[in-house]
Amino acid sequence: MENFRLTIKKRIYFFILLSVIMVAGIIMLAAFGRANDGFNATSGILGAVLAIALGNVITAKIALGNEAKLKEMYIKYTDERSAQITKEASTTTFRVILLGLSAATIIANFLSETVSCTLSVCLAFIFMVYIAVSSYYNRKM
């Protein structure tokens, strides 16, 4: 359990660092980038990441102060069923998205070349990452 406590502390430091970076980004964006086209998109994504990071910091801090919550968190993190569910969900998502992106690329080709190109690049990139990661795990495992 002590090891897990240490892991949680490291997580808190990581999320605090992430929050600081996001806040700095938002401040800089508000100061210099208001006129840019992408202001709304960037500030929205930075804000979402900041909210997630702060949520994680608060949850971890509560768990560190309360033994029962820490135990609950430990069980949640080490539960094999949860890990298996996450892996299965990711693998299924990956397959569905590959099929969906292929179909969307074909359809978009008739509507907008830009959209079709964007989706094709996404698809190619996902394939490349998957092949690279597969070969990495094939060597590692």
């Binding site: 840019n36 086209d37 992408g38 709304n40 998109a41 960037t42 994504i45 069923r81 298996q84 569910i85 996450t86 892996k87 299965e88 969900a89 990711s90 693998t91 299924t92 998502t93 990956f94 397959r95 569905v96 998205i97 969906g100 992106l101 292929s102 690329t105 074909i106 080709n109 008739f110 509507l111 907008s112 070349e113 830009t114 959209v115 079709s116 964007t118 989706l119 996404c122 990139f125 996902i126 990452v129 998957y130 990661v133 597969s134 795990y137 094939n138 495992m141």
Partner: protein, 142 residues
Amino acid sequence: MEEFRKKLRMKIVLCRILAVSLLIALIVLQVLVHRGVLRGETNMGFFVGGITVLIMNIMRMKKAVKDDAALKQWYVRNTDERTIAVQQKAGNFTSLFTIFLLSIAAVAASYINETVYWTLGAAMGVYLLVYLGSLVYYNKKM
């Protein structure tokens, strides 16, 4: 092993149906484009690539169904826990990495091209929805 052979036969039938559907879709799209109903080009690469992969798979599976040694090899490859674990880990990492990079790409694209930004945003949204849906499904199933 007989059950696995049956499964393989079923897979061959499914692959055949898929290959024929792709071929029909390609022909229909080509006809519609030539008649001027649809504007743009049919993405031949996708269809030809898909059909080729399916035909190669059908041929390999047919060989496995006929030849006992090839079937055994196919069975080992498909039920090997290491291979399954590698696929799951790779899929897991690729999913998370893709969501992360899609969001960065969407932010970058928002300064360059609005169409690309909306396309990436929509892809990210669909990705998250499918992921959440899968999580709920597997939470109930497992």
